[in-house]
């Protein structure tokens, strides 16, 4: 259990309340003492060391911090950690099982859907939310579902292909 950041430093100011919360992260209950103002993205990155979720723009525009909150994609840079208490949060680290990658991860590699990789975790989580609702999306449906996530490197074309690739594989696995 950790307090605010990486290290427990000098005692925090007495006027800052600290609250203990438990969040179900990637299927595992995790507990931390947090200030009420701590952002969810920082809880994940600093307290839980899940640095795959990135903080990009601070204004809910870029989507690098996208995680699934009770299965729904949200931007963890504008949600407070305390709001996540008792909820399920899925991050990129929960995508693969011990032995195999999620088809979305495979699709991103196969179709060259990433370059610098900074947007990739958020992009894949948004894609996961889409495919959980719709396993047969059109290109337009994919573009719309990912329109809350910015990428500066790829031009999106290969990201769309990657999601189509993953959808096809997931459909095949169902049959």
């Amino acid at each position: 259990m950790s307090s605010l950041y990486e290290e427990i430093k000098s005692a925090p100011a007495s006027d800052i309340p600290v609250r203990q919360i438990t969040v179900n992260v990637n299927g595992e209950p995790r507990t931390a003492n947090v200030e009420p103002r701590l952002l969810l993205v920082h809880l994940l990155r600093q307290a839980f060391k899940l640095t795959g979720t990135h903080s990009g723009c601070d204004t809910t525009n870029c989507g690098a911090c996208t995680v699934l909150f009770d299965g729904r994609p949200i931007k963890s840079c504008t949600m407070l950690a305390v709001q996540a208490e008792g909820h399920n949060v899925e991050t990129v680290e929960g995508l693969a099982s011990a032995s195999e990658l999620n088809p979305i991860q495979e699709g991103f590699k196969q179709e060259h859907a990433l370059q610098c990789g900074f947007c990739t975790p958020g992009m894949m989580m948004a894609a996961k939310a889409l495919l959980e609702e719709n396993l047969n999306p059109t290109e337009d449906e994919i573009r719309w579902a990912l329109s809350g996530n910015l990428c500066r490197c790829t031009g999106y074309q290969n990201i769309v292909k990657a999601v189509l690739w993953a959808a096809e594989k997931m459909r095949a696995e169902l049959n």
């Binding site: 990009g56 601070d58 991050t91 370059q115 990789g117 900074f118 990739t120 500066r152 031009g155 990201i159």
Partner: protein, 793 residues
């Protein structure tokens, strides 16, 4: 028997990327992911004003906050001779402001605290008293005789001019204009924009007093330059400085310069004896770090009636912000702007350039371009279209008759560059065919029946990529070569290190492919490492599409050096003389007896276990490569757009890209670079700009105002390929990373202008937002300058 090069991941293989294995698992290692024991966090207090004198700074309330370890002011930096630092263009830039603030967002104080929340709170407790000075937000204001002087800190500085600079043959160009049948003119503004990688800048400085070692993890595209700069500025011994660039979340030129935050974090670590992390927020990145463009371009073209271009004049006025911090070869004040018209056979040209200081963010970086080449090519292609229209000639035909022909290479351009190779007409023909140019008139007429305006825009250009050669290209005197070091282990596996630094560009994948091509060692057996100055050989870093042209060449050369030694080992193992040894991919054999041979792996083992008497053991080498010339890729981009005249909204119906970047190492990665670059081109043409209001407030300082295209808006791109190997590059490759950003914008703008040709509109400056297109459509007048602040006219 013979190795299949594609199977071993050599040249031409669309090898899936090695680096993806960590990125898709969320296991990338960006600077903000690094945690050191006892680490402190730094936050910067920035100026809310564009131009003001600092009357007082009171930091006492910040110091009093629990968890605050250090508060730094300009005065404290000055006491250590660190209040100012040199820029990459022989100017100085403030680290923390002492006398004045000169742009909104400038660094004023820094707080180092136990966590970033406390540091941010403490910034809010600092009281700075300012005396407001009149802000200057464009070159016209800067040049006014009564303008307040922005750089009153500089001895000998008069007014706000940074430089005057010219190149070309003025007398001969004047004569060409005197002899011309037709003279065509155009005037443009290339708006200020920002590279805006997804990851902001940041660093983690760790000074160890016991050993005297300073380790800095930072987002730098050029870690070795940083080491040299830190050694000079901070006067620390260079062997005790280690700069490590971990994974970079996009660079696009933004991460070339050295920013105040890096310097302050280093000092803070020295003072606190703790690691100090500084991670810039998005507004900090957008308002204070290297922007791109912001140039006013004016020019004219002299022509014969038959369409032959006789000469070109260019005039540029550039806005450099508060400090002249352009990251560019030192010899050229306005970068490689004079690469304009390199694809065209033009007898003479002249350019005059002037730069000004303004109260705007400094650091005109080459945003995904080789030092102002983007502005050069945009001007060129807008000028070419305007000239074709003035002549009443077909825009494709006008280009065709003025292109440098294939057999004219190497060709000396009017401004003095030497282009190396190309098949310009072939690229154009492929593009025209793909876009359906022949049928366009019918298509346009059909659309007109539906009330829609159709336009087709062409952009053809060759650009100089891969700075430099060392004769002409240096940054602050350091020559622009690059390097590679290759170590073959006894099992035949290898470790390759270079002086470049990938930033999503796939170096870990493609560099191994070059070695596989040269030595026949499977790419999967080669580990590529970059970005750690303690282990990598000295290099000038990655920007200006120089990795493949320079570092890539160094890799081929070092592999050849290794192969030369392996040949001696092979002769020893095969018991023949070296002259009787032949090479095929991955294997030496005895001439005349192909069956009798040894693999490169067997040679590697012999280098450690069975070398001939007198031979130095081991199989490794290093190569420093000084390119004889730049490389000259060519691109033809064609956009077809449809405008809704009711709204001014334009849609891209089709976009065709024909790229000739020489031999492609990894076609998949090359295509990824082109699509990404085209998207940035589309962004600049459409929405991605920064401007300032009259008070010097930045518009575009966060992602609410600074618009980037999403998957929804971004059009699809059709890619085509032509290969003209670079004659002087060891593997025939040319740069490619920037072609699309450089050549792309003019294709979109030319297409919109083509659609508006009959409306009396000659130019709308970027961004071509619907309201600007609508304004032009309804008034029949050009739209000039930048929204919302107009300058010039």
């Amino acid at each position: 028997m013979k190795l299949d090069e594609v199977k071993i991941g050599g040249m031409g293989a669309s090898r899936r990327r090695v680096e993806d294995n960590r990125f898709i698992r969320g296991k990338g290692n960006y600077v903000d992911d690094i945690v050191l024991p006892g680490m402190l966090h730094m936050e910067i207090l920035r100026s809310p004003l564009a131009h003001a004198r600092i009357k007082s700074i009171d930091t006492s309330a910040a110091w009093d906050m629990p968890g605050v370890r250090l508060v730094l002011t300009g005065e404290m930096m000055a006491a250590r001779n660190l209040a100012w630092m040199p820029t990459l263009s022989y100017d100085t830039a403030a680290v923390l402001a002492t006398d004045k603030v000169r742009f909104q967002g400038q660094e004023v104080c820094a707080v180092i605290a136990d966590d970033p929340y406390i540091a941010k709170d403490a910034c809010g407790k600092i009281v700075v008293e300012y005396e407001v000075l009149p802000p200057i937000v464009n070159p016209v204001q800067a040049a006014a005789p009564d303008a307040v002087q922005i750089r009153d800190d500089k001895a000998g500085q008069v007014g706000n001019k940074v430089f005057d600079w010219e190149i070309g043959d003025k007398a001969r160009t004047d004569k060409a204009f005197a002899d011309a049948d037709v003279v065509s003119k155009i005037e443009l503004h290339y708006p200020r924009t920002h590279p805006s990688p997804m990851e902001t800048c940041g660093s983690l400085a760790d000074y160890d007093r016991a050993t005297g070692k300073l380790t800095v993890y930072m987002t730098s595209q050029a870690p070795h330059i940083v080491r040299a700069a830190v050694a000079m500025v901070a006067e620390l011994p260079e062997q005790n400085i280690r700069i490590v660039t971990p994974d970079i979340g996009g660079g696009f030129g933004n991460k070339v310069p050295i920013y105040p935050g890096y310097v302050i974090a280093i000092l803070a670590s020295i003072l606190t004896e703790k690691p100090v992390k500084w991670i810039e927020d998005k507004t900090g990145n957008l308002t204070s770090t290297g922007f791109g463009r912001d140039v006013y371009l004016k020019g004219e073209m002299a022509m014969r009636k038959d369409g032959k271009i006789l000469g070109v004049r260019m005039n540029t006025i550039s806005d450099h912000g508060a400090f002249f911090a352009d990251a560019q070869p030192s010899k050229f004040k306005i970068g490689l702007m004079h690469s304009a018209f390199a694809a065209y056979d033009i007898p003479t040209a002249h350019m005059f350039a002037t730069g000004y200081y303004t109260n705007k963010a400094p650091g005109g970086v080459a945003y995904r371009c080789s030092f102002r080449v983007t502005e050069a090519m945009f001007f060129q292609e807008r000028m070419v279209q305007a000239a074709a229209d003035d002549l009443g000639m077909d825009q494709a035909e006008f280009r065709r008759i003025n292109f440098v022909k294939d057999e004219q290479h190497p060709h000396r351009t009017a401004f003095g560059f030497l282009t190396d190779s190309g098949q310009y007409e072939k690229c154009l023909d492929i593009g025209l065919e793909a876009i359906g140019y022949k049928n366009f008139a019918a298509e346009k007429a059909e659309a007109a029946k539906r009330g829609r305006l159709l336009g087709i825009g062409i952009s053809t250009m060759t650009e100089p990529l891969g700075a430099g050669n060392s004769r002409e290209y240096d940054i602050l005197g350091i020559k622009m070569f690059d390097s590679a070091e290759l170590r073959i282990h006894m099992s035949g596996k290898a470790l390759l290190r270079t002086g470049s630094r990938g930033q999503g560009t796939g170096h870990e994948t493609t560099w191994a492919q070059i070695v596989a091509h040269e030595l026949g060692i499977p790419a999967d057996d080669i580990l590529v490492e970059e970005g750690d100055t303690d282990t990598a050989p000295f290099g000038m870093g990655t920007y200006a599409s120089r990795s493949t042209p320079v570092a890539g060449a160094a890799i081929a050369m070092v592999a050849r050096k290794v192969r030369a030694k392996a040949r001696k080992l092979a002769a020893h193992l095969l018991e023949v003389s070296e002259e009787d040894i032949e090479w095929e991919l991955g294997r030496f054999y005895v001439r005349g007896n192909q069956e009798r041979g040894v693999t490169i792996q067997e040679c590697a083992m012999a280098a450690y276990s069975n070398m001939p008497d007198g031979m130095e053991p081991g199989l490794e080498n290093v190569a420093y490569y000084d390119p004889p010339n730049l490389t000259w890729p060519f691109a033809c981009y064609i956009a077809k757009v449809e405008i809704d005249p009711e709204t001014g909204v334009w849609d891209v119906l089709q976009f065709v890209a024909v790229d000739d970047c020489g031999v492609r190492i990894n076609p998949m990665i090359v295509e990824g670079q082109i699509m990404g670059g085209l998207t940035e081109a589309y962004a600049m043409a459409n929405m991605q700009y920064q401007t300032y209001d009259e008070e010097g407030n930045i518009i575009g300082g966060n992602y609410m105002d600074f618009l980037l295209p999403t998957a929804w808006e971004t059009p699809g791109f059709e890619l085509y390929e032509v290969v003209t190997p670079c004659p002087h590059h060891p593997i025939g490759a040319k740069g490619v990373g920037e072609c699309a950003t450089v050549g792309g914008p003019a294709a979109f703008v030319n297409a919109v202008m083509d659609a508006l040709k009959d409306k009396g509109v000659r130019n709308i400056d970027m961004p071509l937002m619907p309201n600007r297109v609508y304004e032009a459509l309804t008034t029949g007048k050009d739209v000039y300058g930048m929204p919302p602040v107009r300058s010039g006219n």
